[in-house]
């Protein structure tokens, strides 16, 4: 420890920071600190001049650690990325956004806080270790599960990008549901032509190996080198050289395209599907249209009933996305086949986003009737017609229609293939059994690193969107197919000298990244790991540390934190801010100049779930008046249940505090979203006031 050489660089940010913080005073103090060999003040460290000045000092003085006191570490990351020193030996302290800007009204406090921040960061960088990225194998082979339109397209795209592709399909033939269709929409052309084209491309591409009648038996290993065993129940592949029969393949990434299944409307007995032969589903319609030449022309009076099973709390609580367009398509086909055909579509809402609206319009203008109102039941009358009785909500009166044919617009549900795969490789699915993904930000990612979704295995979607998603999945998968890949060393490291093998980390990891080594110690799969630090936060003996933030650093920062840096009567709040949301909100508070008391010193954490109970306890023990954990709202946590876990852990410590006759109010969790700096400022203000009322932390007097 004694031989370390820290260089401290203070940025005035063209005078901005210095306006509020007495940098010269701090500079002088810093130069006296252990391990600090140089302190330099600069008007703009992020400028080319500034950067080269830093690099110069590093060479000249042989600095092994650098502390940059300037703007938020979330900013100027590119500028400070490469200073010619291991980036883990560079620490940035947020003087601008979270000190000078938000305490512009009180430069005395700002300077005092800056002093405390500087001290803590010095301690942090003192305990930092140089880390290098780890390279792991990423074989150039991809596996695509499901030979429907999504799977085929994924396979083609992957092969086009140079990957070796195994495309497996559980049925004896490719094409999936699309091959059962009569026409596509919006162009109403036959799917066969599209499929034929795809098949021939598959044929002609030597990098694509098609295995039909095949299913995934099991999957092990990590992204970049999954080992997948594939069971081929019978031969008969499009091109089936013997060696492709039963085998284990090593795949860098997996694209799941296990498709969908039609909803069976029998449970809605009122519509009599299966009992009344004139009542069919939209998929039956496609079949008949495909197989019976005259089918379309013959249907004099046809009724379509929308949302059968879909948007129905008792069946499929979601909208099946395609049914509106399917019915409109089929209605148009009927009209085209014979303009005298009478067609009524009984709907609830018609959903035709984007250019589909024009098809809807075409349908209306072509004389297809749209009646808002859903029949409650179907009866067969004496003439064998189906009498549809609906209260027309627009007309405000009941209307009757004697149909020759009633088409139930049934929706899509998750396929058995998806469930089978889920069981085989343990993939997270949602309550409708579609594959779970972070819908909003990473729709193509499954909950398991290196496994991606294409098409309807994730949610109902139509052909064009399936193909689109196949492309997206491919693009995501390519990262794992580059031969090898570098993993940033932020992942957690378990100190097995301390570890008691209690398994909590293994249990709580949201990404199931932990397994056991031969001695029963937890070991993290750095490729499954997303470095959220939830294991670090949960370890009862603080034996887990992240590359970018170690328990030792956290505890070290607490050692040096002066718990009365604003004077005896001002409470001190230690804020652990989630770097995805709360920390950025705090920065914005500064940028927007929202005044905010200087009582809070923030520590950036990857997730509020990364904060260990022992560290919280330590903070209180060392006299901090309040600890604020600021993370995302439960359902918004980037790491699934990070903030939820943070709350439980906080609760554990506050229980302890209660027993210890300390106020549980000294611990607080706040959900602060990235775009809510006002809330951040308000929270700090409020909390500081409250703590003032509460009085000093009794342990501070110790």
């Amino acid at each position: 420890m004694s031989d370390i050489k820290i260089g401290v660089f203070l940025c005035t940010c063209e005078g901005e920071i210095e306006k509020t913080i007495a940098l010269d005073v701090l500079a002088q103090e810093a130069s006296g600190r252990a391990g600090v060999v140089s302190v330099r003040k600069d008007s703009s460290l992020c400028s080319e001049r500034g950067i080269s000045a830093i690099r110069e000092d590093i060479d000249k003085l042989g600095l092994d650690r650098v502390l940059i006191a300037a703007c938020s570490p979330a900013l100027k990351t590119r500028e400070f990325a490469d200073l010619g020193i291991n980036k883990y030996m560079v620490e940035r302290v947020n003087f601008r956004e979270q000190c000078s800007l938000c305490h512009a009204d009180n430069s005395e406090h700002a300077t005092k806080k800056a002093r405390a921040m500087l001290g803590m960061s010095l301690e942090k960088v003192r305990h930092s270790k140089a880390l290098e990225p780890v390279t792991v194998p990423a074989v150039k082979t991809a596996l695509v599960v499901g030979g429907g339109v999504a799977g085929i397209n994924a396979a083609l795209d992957l092969a086009a990008a140079g990957a070796e592709v195994f495309l497996i399909e559980k049925n004896p033939h490719l094409g999936g549901k699309v091959s059962e269709l009569h026409r596509y929409y919006p162009r109403l052309c036959p799917p066969s032509c599209g499929l034929e084209l795809m098949y021939s491309k598959l044929e002609s591409n030597p990098r694509i190996h098609v295995l039909t009648s095949s299913e995934v038996e099991s999957l092990s290993g990590s992204p970049g080198h999954f080992s997948v065993s594939i069971k081929t129940t019978s031969p008969g592949t499009i091109k089936s050289p013997e060696e492709y029969q039963v085998r284990t393949i090593i795949a860098g990434a997996v694209v799941v395209a296990t498709g969908w299944e039609p909803f069976d409307p029998r449970p809605l007995t009122e519509y009599g599907y299966g009992r009344l032969e004139k009542v069919i589903t939209n998929l039956d319609f496609e079949k008949s249209a495909r197989e019976q030449g005259q089918f379309l022309a013959q249907q004099k009076k046809t009724a379509f009933i929308q949302c059968v099973g879909s948007r129905d709390e008792r069946h499929l609580p979601y909208c099946s996305d395609v049914c509106c367009m399917v019915s409109i398509k089929q209605a148009l086909l009927l009209k085209q086949a014979n303009p005298d055909n009478e067609v009524i579509i009984y709907y609830n809402d018609i959903r035709t986003p984007g250019e589909y609206e024009s098809v809807y319009r075409q349908a209306r203008t072509s004389g297809i009737q749209f009646v808002k109102g859903i029949p409650s039941e179907l009866r067969q009358d004496e003439q064998g017609k189906i009498s549809v009785s609906v209260f027309d909500l627009m007309a405000g009166e009941r209307t009757e229609f004697a149909a020759d044919l009633v088409v139930l617009a049934t929706g899509m549900k998750a396929s058995r293939g998806t469930t089978a795969l889920k069981d085989a490789i343990g993939l997270a699915t949602n309550k409708e059994n579609f594959i779970e993904s972070h819908l909003q930000c990473h729709p193509q990612d499954s909950q398991r690193e290196g496994i991606f979704t294409a098409g309807c295995c994730r949610a109902p979607m139509d052909v064009s969107r399936s193909i689109e998603s196949a492309g997206a999945a491919t693009a995501k998968a390519l990262r794992y197919l580059q031969g090898e890949m570098a993993v940033s060393p932020d992942y957690p490291v378990v100190d097995i000298l301390k570890c008691d093998r209690c398994k909590r980390c293994v249990e709580e990891c949201p990404f199931k990244a932990y397994s056991y080594d031969d001695k029963g110690f937890p070991q993290v799969d750095i490729l499954k790991c997303r470095a959220c630090g939830i294991c670090m936060g949960g370890c009862p003996i603080g034996a887990i540390s992240l590359g970018e933030l170690s328990i030792e650093q956290l505890s070290g920062m607490l050692d040096v934190l002066d718990t009365s840096y604003l004077g005896e009567d001002e409470p001190v709040i230690l804020g652990f801010l989630c770097k995805n949301d709360a920390y950025r909100a705090a920065d914005d508070a500064g940028l927007k100049g929202i005044p905010c008391p200087a009582n809070l010193i923030s520590v950036m954490v990857p997730c509020s779930g990364a904060v260990n109970g022992m560290i919280i306890a330590e903070a209180i023990s060392k006299g901090v008046d309040g600890v604020l954990l600021a993370g995302c709202a439960d359902n918004q946590c980037h790491y699934l249940h990070g903030s939820a876990l943070a709350k439980t852990r906080l609760a554990d410590v506050s229980n302890k505090l209660k027993e210890m006759y300390l106020e549980p109010e000294r611990l607080r969790f706040a959900s602060i979203s990235r775009d809510d700096p006002e809330k951040f400022a308000a929270t700090v203000k409020e909390y500081a006031e409250e703590l003032k009322q509460l009085g000093k932390n009794p342990l501070r007097i110790q």
Binding site: P540, E552, G556, V653, N655, E659, M660
Partner: protein, 108 residues
């Protein structure tokens, strides 16, 4: 000297086969009740009150008690572990609160 496991706090270290208190107990006394998934002391008479389990329990679910024959009820002694420090709170039978906070490890 007996330990007392607060049932609703103990989570049996996620109900795994060997919770931390069982791992650490110097007398092989703490163990898991596989029915309730919670820890318990299999022989109160044999506890030496070293408090290893109390200190290591992440849920603060284990308390130390003095047998009534030796000391009167109502007193409490609660440790709170930091990574390199410990904070004790002691409450006597008259409700007098005392606190002790000190370092237990030096950093390297």
């Amino acid at each position: 000297m007996p330990v007392y496991v607060v049932k609703d706090k103990c989570d049996g270290c996620k109900g795994k086969d060997e919770p931390l208190c069982e791992q650490i107990c110097i007398g092989d006394l703490m163990t898991l009740n596989s029915d309730t998934g919670k820890a318990y002391c299999r022989s109160l008479r044999d506890c030496w009150d070293c408090m290893s389990c109390t200190k290591i329990c992440p849920k603060g679910a284990i308390e130390q008690r003095i047998p009534y024959q030796l000391g009167y009820h109502g007193a409490k002694l609660i440790p709170m572990m930091g990574t390199d420090s410990i904070t004790w709170t002691c409450v006597d039978i008259d409700g007098k609160v005392e606190r002790f906070s000190f370092r237990t490890r030096n950093k390297h």
